[in-house]
């Protein structure tokens, strides 16, 4: 029996993050996925600058160029690298703008759902009693129904629009965060540092958000990553079903839906390319999230 190292304190925060990064980077697939995520984000943010054409500008779109296969060149010498859609829009440009919209909807709804769900989860864990019971009943109720179903009902009632889609996505996602955070926060609450903070007379909000919250971050990060991917996919599905974003704001899901009609006649590119972009986006976010889960999961640590 060797002596236990006499160092009960956790490593410095900065060092801890560096250690996590080193462990994360052990998996090359995850690092590659992270790079792809960064590139996609950059492409989405810069889409108005890098897209060859503004797909919303009706003056540059020519109906005679509709449904041209990838690699076509129009009489003006404009290259349609990925072909054109049913309205003669350059697919590549439409996809970049669509990606921007899809990512925006996914990230915004994810962040709002985190803020809402985490707050409720912390409140439930710290206040306990009736408040806890009430919040967790609602969480159980929400989680009892599949995301797509709830979103479908909400949008059937609310109608189309970016704000409505984001609202519906927040409504279907917050419960996951609330449940995860409540579980972690309950464990943290029983620890000594919380007792110390209480005995020092700190206010409840300060203890909950300043002391307990930072220690609940790992599950929030993992679930948050996965949920953003899920939100992007759900938005695309809803738009495909005609219940998400309006025609005037073509996200990737809507671009794919537009191509559905042409798919059966062999004009594959209108559906295939936006779908591939959607797949790469969701896939790389999921790979990163998967690795984060492995790195941050205390049950798998050696």
């Amino acid at each position: 029996m060797s002596a236990v190292p006499a160092n009960p304190t956790a490593p410095e925060p900065e060092k801890r993050w560096r250690m996590l990064w080193r462990e994360f980077a052990e998996n090359r697939r995850a690092v590659a996925a992270l790079v792809v995520c960064g590139l996609l984000l950059a492409a989405a943010l810069l889409s108005p600058l890098i897209a060859p054409q503004n797909p919303y500008d009706l003056t540059v779109i020519d109906m005679f160029d509709s449904r041209m296969p990838p690699g076509s060149v129009n009489p003006d010498g404009f290259h349609y690298w990925l072909g054109t859609d049913g309205q003669g829009r350059d697919m590549l440009s439409a996809m970049l703008y669509g990606l921007r919209l899809s990512l925006m909807v996914g990230v915004v709804s994810g962040v709002l759902a985190i803020a809402f769900g985490v707050s409720l989860g912390l409140v439930a864990a710290y206040w306990g009693g009736f408040v806890d019971a009430l919040i967790m009943r609602v969480v159980d109720f929400m989680l009892g129904f599949p995301t797509i179903m709830v979103a479908l009902i909400l949008l059937a009632v609310l109608g189309q629009g970016v704000d409505k889609v984001i609202f519906a996505l927040v409504m279907v996602q917050w419960a996951y965060f609330a449940r995860a955070v409540r579980g972690t926060a309950l464990i943290e609450r029983g620890k000594e540092y919380v007792d110390a903070a209480v005995s020092l007379g700190f206010s409840r909000p300060r203890i909950v958000f300043g002391h307990i919250l930072p220690n609940c971050l790992p599950p929030i990060i993992v679930i948050g990553t996965m949920q953003i991917a899920h939100a992007i996919s759900t938005e695309a599905t809803l738009s495909f079903l005609g219940l998400g974003l309006p025609i005037t704001e073509p996200s990737l899901g809507l671009l794919i839906a537009n191509g559905f009609a042409y798919l059966l006649s062999g004009q594959y590119w209108i559906s295939v390319y936006p779908g591939l972009l959607l797949l790469v986006t969701i896939f790389s976010i999921n790979v990163v999230g998967d690795r984060l889960r492995d790195v941050l999961n205390p049950r798998l640590q050696k």
């Binding site: 697939r29 129904f145 179903m149 009902i153 059937a156 079903l241 896939f283 049950r299």
Partner: protein
């Protein structure tokens, strides 16, 4: 046990009531079904007559009261579009959806669990890498796009399988099903695979994670020390332990399969409940939408109840609330 079931069923009544209010009031705010139902050249008096015959002229609370009164007697209203009782319409579409969901679940379990076991027993190996990456891919594929790709490859390019409808159905034990005929099976294959892929990926991940967390536990070492053969340890002792979360997920996901089948049914023109709800939302056929949601809510409640009961049977450590006292 009985107390538990009764309490849960009473809770379910409240949930159903809440869902019905939310949906009824919500749908009331959207569009005017009369516009869609009447021909364009209908005059004002025809309009008024239609509004009156549909009961749309009464205040919202009265409409809900009438709806609730009839609902208790099993009458959920008549479809505006098909002009038959909406509950009848939904029940007539239900077998097609259940058949699809069940078939998808069987595919997911039969392929997913073995692959998950394989990956979990050899973490870090090439097989694990391929299976895990594949499962993340399956997780990431948007269901509707994957359906389009299946149609493009197997129907348009290769021409092997039909892309829409249910094909010829036959009857087995008095139930109309696609299992009965070769043509029906051919029609079933693509939609079932499309619906199954996501769940398949989920099964792989669950099983793999379960195996990885169970293998280092003491009882496995003990069994090994006792000389139990490795296949027996994995297939009996480990599998039994990871079955609890898997069964829960199978149960819960059966509900979600029914919900997700809306997407698959829309793409493959499969005449089930999911296609019905999308069509009904688009046509503002309120009675059908309300009835569908109530029926589906009821199904979820029942499924969740069965899962909880199964859970307690599989794992004696789980005590049901209301049973312990």
């Amino acid at each position: 046990m009985l107390v538990f079931i009764i309490r849960r069923l009473l809770q379910s009544m409240l949930v159903l009531l809440a869902v019905s209010i939310v949906v009824f009031v919500g749908l009331y705010a959207v569009g005017d079904p009369v516009d869609i139902l009447l021909p364009d050249d209908a005059n004002q008096s025809e309009r008024q007559a239609a509004i009156r015959s549909l009961g749309l002229d009464k205040p919202l609370i009265t409409q809900y009261g009438i709806f609730l009164g009839k609902a208790v007697q099993g009458d959920l209203g008549t479809s505006f579009v098909f002009n038959i009782p909406s509950i009848e319409l939904i029940l007539s579409r239900m077998p097609a959806t259940l058949e699809l969901a069940l078939c998808a679940m069987v595919i997911a379990v039969l392929i997913g669990i073995p692959l998950g076991l394989w990956a979990g027993l050899k973490p870090g190996s090439a097989a694990d890498e391929v299976i895990t990456t594949g499962s993340i891919l399956g997780f990431s594929l948007p269901g509707f796009w994957q359906g389009l790709m299946l149609i493009m490859i197997f129907s348009v390019w290769l021409g092997w399988l039909p892309s829409n409808g249910r094909g010829t159905t036959g009857t087995i034990f008095g139930i109309e099903t696609s299992f009965a005929t070769w043509d029906g099976l051919r029609h079933l294959l693509l939609p079932a695979i499309n619906l199954a892929l996501f769940k398949l990926a989920m099964m792989i991940r669950l099983t793999r994670a379960g195996v990885r967390e169970t293998m280092p536990l003491d009882f496995v070492k003990f069994a090994r020390a006792k000389g139990v053969s490795e296949p027996r340890i994995v297939l009996v002792h480990v599998l039994k332990n990871i079955l609890v979360p898997i069964v829960t997920v199978i149960g819960m996901e059966l509900g979600s399969l029914i919900a997700f089948s809306t997407v698959t049914e829309t793409i493959f023109a499969w005449p089930g409940m999911g296609k019905l709800i999308i069509d009904s939302i688009n046509k503002l056929d309120r009675p059908v939408v309300v009835a569908y949601l109530l029926v589906v809510t009821m199904m979820f409640i029942l499924i969740n109840l069965v899962v909880d009961l199964l859970y307690a049977t599989l794992d004696p450590r789980v005590r049901l609330k209301g049973v312990s006292e």
